[in-house]
Amino acid sequence: MQLDCAAPMADQTADGMTIDGDRSVTARRLSWVLIVVLSVVVLTGLATGSAGTSLWQALIDMAQGQDLSLRDRVVLLDIRAPRVIMGCFVGAALAVSGAVLQGLFRNPLADPGIVGVSAGASLGAVGAIVLGGTLTVAAGLVTWLVPIAAFLGAWITTMLLYRVATRRGRTSVATMLLAGIALTALAMALTGILVYVADDAQLRDFTFWSMGSLAGSSWSKIIVAAPLILIPLMLSPFLALGLNGLALGEAAAGHIGIRVQHLKTCAILVVAASTGAAVAVSGGIGFVGIVVPHLLRLASGPDHKYLLVNSALLGAALLVLADLISRMIIAPSELPIGIVTAVIGAPFFLWILLRQRGIVDL
């Protein structure tokens, strides 16, 4: 056997030439395209709204040294800007959570909604809405209560899931999925009880929250959500190599040198924190976590080194765009963003399922 590393095969890999099957160049180009797309969507989000304030006019005024009118300042800086930034945060958090969970479960259909993380977060949030009303809390704490309760809900669910599914340091994916189904049922039942005891005003709050909306975005909510979303997002690239290896199966991932248990613990924490925060500030926004990574895998392959970053970018762009649609389509009234993502996402999800069964091949 010729085992010399420097075997003369230079003609196939001359510098600058892409080998067949290497999609890293495509994926890197896609990152740049997505950065441009996200920038355009963010600027459009800032420039568009039912109030009719023009971003361009405001910029021109500022360039000419004029002060913004109070109305423009409020519309641009206190209403549109936090909303667009929150859209970026939530979209990126949901898409990356989806990509990480899919890598962890080696299943393209895994989603925080499936393993009970979202249900746990919802339970926490609803608990805060319903029970929080009965407590006497300082007004400043109310903003913090829902996101923190949702994060705790997501985290407790994930920990329970982990305890149930892990035996002697090894996690069974099948047990974890089954436990996720049971935990979702339990969390939904408990949420149902809370809704049953809620009064009319709480019920209204809950209904709007559960349909998903970025309407209540404010700088104070961003300050609460930012660490819970940004820290996991920045840590997620460190999971990329491990998630790639995990595609071979848990045992084989260990054989190529990955600390599998460590990887799983980190992945679960990343998912719990970012999903908890995203669910708390935006309610039930579905399908971003499934649709975004799937689209990107079709475009540039499943390599997590690029998939996670590109998911964050595309998730952010899609959610800001969906939010734009939700507030412009029936302006000055608003459609909950969860309805927009579901109307686009649900048919897409069904198409994925049909395509996987080989019934339609588009």
């Binding site: 056997m1 010729q2 085992l3 590393c5 075997a7 095969m9 230079a10 196939q12 890999t13 080998i19 067949d20 099957g21 290497d22 999609r23 080696r106 299943n107 393209p108 002697r168 190599l241 790639n244 290896g245 595609a247 071979l248 199966g249 045992a251 084989a252 260990g254 054989h255 190529i256 040198g257 990955i258 600390r259 599998v260 895998r297 392959g301 499943p302 390599d303």
Partner: protein
Amino acid sequence: MLIVTDLSVRLGRRTILSNLFFSAQPGQVTAVVGPSGAGKSTLLAALTGDLDHDGAVTLNGRDIARTSAAELSDIRAVLPQATPMSFPFTVLEVIRMGRMRRSMDDRIALHALTRVGLGGFEGRFYQELSGGEQQRVQLARVLVQVWQPTGPAGSRWLFLDEPVSSLDIGHQLQVMQIVRDFATSGGGVVMVMHDLNLTAMCADNVILLSDGQILSQGMPVDTLCDDLLSQAYGCRIAVNCAPETGVYLLPQVAGL
């Protein structure tokens, strides 16, 4: 050197392997044979650190239970029986995973692919390949991981679980040649085998398992004999006997 001392494996209340002692030398091909359910794959899983076990397994002088996954990955690579993958990776991307902890020149990946007879397949989707082709792509990935049969920490090892089970005779011979070459260059090979002819032809050392115990171990000429094989497999087996009529073929007289 691989040294196994008093190895037992229990799954639940069932004892799958009990009190095994053996060793395998680098530079040699060691084959584990035995009937289905004898514990061959369990033994391989214990040797690679996938299963909790009693007793000790040392590889190049290190207790594998106390060696990190990263260190072990530098000295041994493992080929599972089958590796289904759920995402649409290309063949090149799969082979690169063999070297994900170290930087790799893609020329090695292409070289390994040619070695397993799949030159030109680097751009194909792994999921679209046949079972036998997938098995050979995984073999290329495993070869890339231990590309040099010897390294600073001594010999490198290949652990293969039925590497030829889904291959045709031509590719079986090709894989056996790769295995032999790896051992000749100083590496160690431990493989689970079903095909006794190929085992007789390729292995230096045979471990015959039956009911979780070693029935016999040694050179093929000593272990692959009528009584031991008949006892292990529960049927009448006669080695080196040609049938009087009919057609038969042996890999020993086939060539690449």
